[in-house]
């Protein structure tokens, strides 16, 4: 089982939707809500879509709307990966 880390998420955010000026993605962003960092629903949809493809996980739209912080994304992706193995 491959673990999905906060750095993996940072990488996807950087490369697929970019970073707003003045936002430090390398800081403690786990519980910072996405809109505060300039990511709207479209940006988040793109991030989730990228994760789904690269890590071959399936995240439902219902689950995706609950993902308001990077920490929540990392937890859900790891849960899903664990279930896929188990």
């Amino acid at each position: 089982m491959s673990e999905f880390t906060m750095d993996n998420l940072r990488d996807i955010m950087r490369t697929s939707v970019g970073v707003e000026e003045g936002v430090d993605l390398d800081g403690p962003i786990d519980e910072v809500e996405f809109p505060e960092m300039g990511y709207d629903s479209l940006a988040l949809a793109e991030v989730i879509s990228q994760i789904s493809r690269r890590y071959k996980v399936s995240i439902s739209e219902d689950a995706a709307v609950e993902l308001i912080t990077p920490g929540a994304v990392v937890r859900l992706v790891n849960q899903t990966l664990a279930q896929a193995v188990g």
Binding site: V17, E21, L42, A45, E46, S49, S52
Partner: protein
């Protein structure tokens, strides 16, 4: 705004350029005056499988320098060039949008190819990898209003917003429509437009119009009004122009490059019709809108299709209005190719710089003028001449036609030129000064 001055002509107070002739209005203008062409063999992709191999490409555009990081993955090159040109134009106009009432500042751009390259990339993924591989931003990046939307969001401009799709004529239409909006209470409009028609998908779409040059020599491929005209070359980029009510400009202490004095648009009759092309009447209506006589026009920036029949039709319209060889005619777009949504916008920028500096820029001409084109075509080198009023013409594929009259501010009333005109527009302007 409560100003009684609703009839006064709006003023262009800022110019931003991203074009094959350079990035920045001054770089473009210097390239135009020195006749430096931006047309060459296409570098953006390998053009060898296509019958068209030449284009005007923007040299050295550093996306990271001009576009915020968050906007790069969600925008086509078309929108990116407009973002860059708008930043320059607003700075040039010394406008701080944040300090203006947000609902009195609007955006109206021209679009033609829209986000074709972005769309091609995503469609490629759809057909080779599947629908889940299509990026989310395909939803907003390709379509015609994308640039207007991104500009409005980035700068917090919540006034009138729109997009005009009339191919090459669209740039003039944005200024004409913005002129009306400013007459009815909007304070400032971001107008003009850019285009990015250089990807295989967009190019093959253009080739179907049958008007493109298939020559491979960049020095001779696009030569409007020439006996050897062989079609046109396409190019990317364009210009963004800040249009503002004269009282707003005055309040801010900005003089501006010139005013939009007159505008008209028309649509050609369908192919096979016995009615004449609409260009002549469109010129006459634009001059009437400006309250000017043909003899007051100092230079015509021609559409310059480069297609013999279209060149003859344009020459005939110019000659019918002005008389044979009676007005200098120039086609500086021979240095850039036709930029579609960005083409007329760039011509307006060039014309305004000509008004500023009192010089008529030249275009290229291969060989001799074609029979039936009795024009005083400015070629070889720029011509020093008083330039108080310029007429810009544009025709878009499908019959779109537009004409715009630009004048130096206070034309006819400045200290060195006696006031001989009595139109309502001029009287109102005079009262405001």
């Amino acid at each position: 705004m409560g100003s009684p001055n609703t009839y006064a002509n709006p003023v262009v107070t800022g110019i931003g350029v991203v074009a094959p002739t350079g990035i920045g209005a001054e770089a473009h203008w210097q390239a135009v005056l020195s006749g430096k062409s931006g047309i060459s063999r296409i570098n953006r992709f390998d053009p060898s499988p296509y019958p068209v191999r030449l284009a005007g490409e923007v040299p050295g555009f550093d996306v990271a320098e001009h576009v915020p990081g968050r906007l790069v993955p969600q925008t086509d090159f078309w929108t990116q060039t407009s973002l860059a040109a708008t930043t320059e134009a607003l700075a040039d106009a010394k406008v701080s949008v944040a300090e203006m009432p947000e609902y009195e500042v609007g955006v109206l751009t021209a679009a033609s190819s829209s986000g074709a390259e972005f769309g091609q990339h995503e469609m490629g993924r759809l057909f080779t990898q599947g629908p889940e591989w299509v990026g989310t931003y395909q939803a907003i990046a390709w379509f015609f209003a994308a640039t207007t939307g991104q500009l409005a969001i980035r700068h917090g401009m919540r006034g009138p917003a729109g997009v005009i799709c009339c191919e090459q004529a669209g740039g003039l239409d944005t200024l004409g429509h913005a002129k009306r909006l400013i007459g009815t209470g909007t304070r400032l409009m971001v107008t003009g437009g850019t285009d990015a028609p250089l990807c295989p998908y967009a190019l093959v779409a253009q080739i179907t119009n049958g008007k493109m040059s298939t020559q491979e020599d960049p020095t001779t491929a696009y030569s409007p009004f020439s006996a050897e005209a062989s079609g046109y070359v396409a190019g990317e980029g364009g210009a963004i122009l800040i249009l503002e009510g004269p009282e707003s400009a005055e309040e801010r202490g900005v003089t501006g490059y010139g005013e939009v004095s007159g505008y008209a648009a028309g649509m050609d009759p369908p192919p096979g019709s016995e009615r004449p092309p609409v260009l002549r009447r469109t010129i006459e209506r634009a001059l009437a809108d400006a309250g000017m006589r043909p003899s007051e026009v100092d230079v015509v920036f021609a559409d310059g299709a480069g297609v013999p029949a279209l060149d003859r039709a344009e020459a005939a319209a110019i000659t019918a209005v002005f008389g044979p060889g009676r007005v200098p005619v120039t086609v500086p777009k021979t240095l850039t190719g036709r930029l579609y949504a960005g083409g007329a916008s760039l011509d307006v920028a060039t014309a305004l710089l000509a008004l500023r500096d009192g010089v008529i820029p030249h275009g290229g001409l291969v060989g001799r003028l074609a029979p039936g084109c009795d024009l005083d075509l400015v070629t070889g080198e720029p011509r020093r001449a008083p330039v108080r009023t310029a007429l810009v013409l544009a025709r878009g594929h499908g019959g779109f036609t537009a004409a715009l009259v630009l004048s130096r501010r206070g034309n006819g009333r400045s200290r060195d030129v006696p006031d001989i005109r009595k139109s309502t527009v001029k009287t109102t302007m005079g009262a405001a000064r």
